[in-house]
């Protein structure tokens, strides 16, 4: 969605990433960050053109703003954070597709497999951050323009807008959420060792950004109750201080390190920072994160 024609490099990049065709919703105001009130009708117009089985949003994109409403409008299933799975396991049972999505059920108790062929409905989903970008197509693809009228009386007016200091949280492969009860120095000290692709934030100050994220790896330091579950392929780690009442809920984490009460401080933050440097992302992933951050500026 944009308010003008797409540049050649953007189209070429989409083609190289595997797109066969670009549907461009073009209209006044569509270059702004998406909202259901301003962008919902344009997205619906594009979706109705192709009647898709799957509508996928990238992490950090407009999925949270537009995905649930789109699913509600077209009667689709919705997954707020999902893995795209492709199976090549021999002949499949009748009515079962080869591409499907998998997401957590509430409380990470089990998975839900959303196969659009099986449920006979489209699926709208938001994918996790950190997927590897690779060449899967050609730069020469068609662009079909859907001309969109400016919605009248949306009921939503922008008063002000500024750069989001936490924008990288939704784009990061690894998010480390630090309990503010551990002191003001913890975030800064731990972040000092974080390589590109790893974002360290205060759990409360960045609560909204964390809630909107689906990182590949999430690490909670301190209180481990987080407003995000990630995807089934994702992993959750917890560093819990002390024992007893601070135990994480069953199934809340995959990997647990319990440190003794009283051991928090410079030494522990330094050890965590040093360990995080091992997440040194691969070159393509690092480049992608920087590119996305730049695109948001």
């Amino acid at each position: 969605m944009n308010d003008r024609e797409l540049g050649g490099p953007v189209v070429a990049r989409l083609g190289c990433a595997g797109a066969d065709k670009v549907l461009l919703c073009e209209g006044a105001g569509l270059a702004a960050p998406p909202l259901e009130a301003t962008h919902g009708a344009a997205l619906l117009a594009a979706v109705e053109r192709v009647s898709p089985l799957l509508v996928l949003f990238p992490a950090g994109g407009g999925g949270l703003a537009l995905g649930p409403s789109l699913a509600a409008r077209i009667g689709a299933a919705f997954a707020g954070a999902a893995d795209l799975e492709v199976t090549d396991a021999g002949p499949l049972a009748e009515g079962v597709g080869r591409v499907f999505l998998r997401r957590w059920r509430g409380g990470r108790a089990a998975y839900r497999r959303l196969d659009p062929v099986e449920i006979e409905r489209p699926v709208v989903a938001i994918l996790a951050a950190g997927a590897v970008e690779r060449e899967a197509g050609t730069a020469e693809i068609d662009v079909e323009v859907v001309t969109c009228a400016v919605p009248q009386q949306t009921g939503v007016v922008e008063i002000s807008s500024e750069a989001d200091g936490d924008a990288l949280v939704a784009l990061s492969r690894v998010v480390v959420a630090v309990d503010p009860a551990l002191g003001p120095d913890a975030v800064a000290r731990i972040a000092a060792g974080a390589p590109s692709g790893v974002t360290v934030v205060d759990r409360d100050r960045a609560a909204a950004a964390i809630a909107a994220s689906a990182p590949e790896i999430l690490i909670a330091i301190g209180d481990v109750e987080l407003p995000v579950m990630g995807t089934p392929r994702g992993r959750v780690g917890a560093i819990v201080v002390g024992d007893g009442d601070t135990a994480p809920r069953a199934r809340a984490v995959d990997v647990l390190w319990r440190v003794p009460a009283g051991s928090t401080g410079e030494k522990l933050w330094g050890e965590i920072a040093k360990a995080l440097s091992a997440f040194g992302t691969s070159a393509p992933a690092r480049a992608r994160t920087k590119t996305r951050a730049k695109a948001h500026e």
């Binding site: 649930p68 509430g106 409380g107 989001d164």
Partner: protein, 231 residues
């Protein structure tokens, strides 16, 4: 601002908790925003769809000072998809009357956060997710702070509207003590043909699959990172 407005906070039925009533963190944020916004001038109603044994969050909301607590008596909502949950709650909200509907960012039992969009669609009102700050302004309208597309934006949203709350003003603060007893939890029964909707729309959840994942305990930060990076 002229006249009292009606705020409705949609709470979700919690998983069974042997230790008593429970209010999820996301729901607590929505409730805190509602009580803070309403003050003494506006009315707050807590709404939950579920059985009588799932009414714990409504009792907690009454304790925190909401004016009304309403349960939509629907036995089968636990197995319903977000379309159904949204439709059922929208039916109840129409009966209650609401200017502003607040929900936690993870509003339904599957942690999808899609039910608020379905509520908004059925009510035909604006929908805005992941709101962090809210203030009433003349209109009637609210000014909200939300983020997306790399921007932190302040928006003016005309009421009625459905907002999901991603961050909050802090823990739930009870209003001034009541002069009398808390009101009882009101029950809205779903009458046919409304209740048939619940039975009809349970297929979009997909197929459940077991998740065989245990917790690996480690003894150092390096081991934690190593275990998380392992596939």
């Amino acid at each position: 601002m002229s006249g009292a407005l009606n705020l409705v906070v949609c709470l979700r039925a919690p998983p069974p908790d042997p230790e008593g009533d429970a209010l999820g963190r996301a729901d607590a944020l929505a409730l805190a925003h509602a009580l803070g916004l309403a003050g003494a001038a506006h009315k707050v109603t807590a709404l939950l769809g579920g059985t009588s044994t799932e009414a714990g969050p409504l009792r907690l909301a009454l304790g925190a000072g909401v004016d009304r607590a309403v349960r939509v008596a629907a036995d089968e909502l636990g197995a319903a998809d977000f379309h159904t949950i949204g439709q059922v709650l929208a039916i109840a909200i129409r009966r209650i009357g609401a200017d502003l509907i607040l929900t936690g960012v993870r509003s339904d039992d599957e942690g999808l956060g899609a039910a608020p969009a379905a509520i908004a669609r059925h009510l035909g009102v604006a929908y805005l997710p992941c709101v962090e700050e809210i203030a009433f302004v003349d209109g009637p309208a609210v000014e909200v702070v939300t983020r997306g597309g790399g921007r932190l934006r302040r928006l003016r949203v005309k009421l009625p509207a459905v907002l999901t709350i991603a961050a909050g003003p802090g823990p739930v603060t009870a209003r001034a003590p009541r002069t009398g007893d808390a009101p009882p939890i009101e029950v809205i029964p779903l009458s046919d043909p409304e209740s048939t909707v619940v039975r009809r729309r349970t297929e979009l959840l997909g197929r459940p699959e077991p998740a065989s994942r245990g917790v690996e305990t480690v003894t150092s930060a390096a081991a934690l990172v190593d275990a998380l990076a392992r596939r």
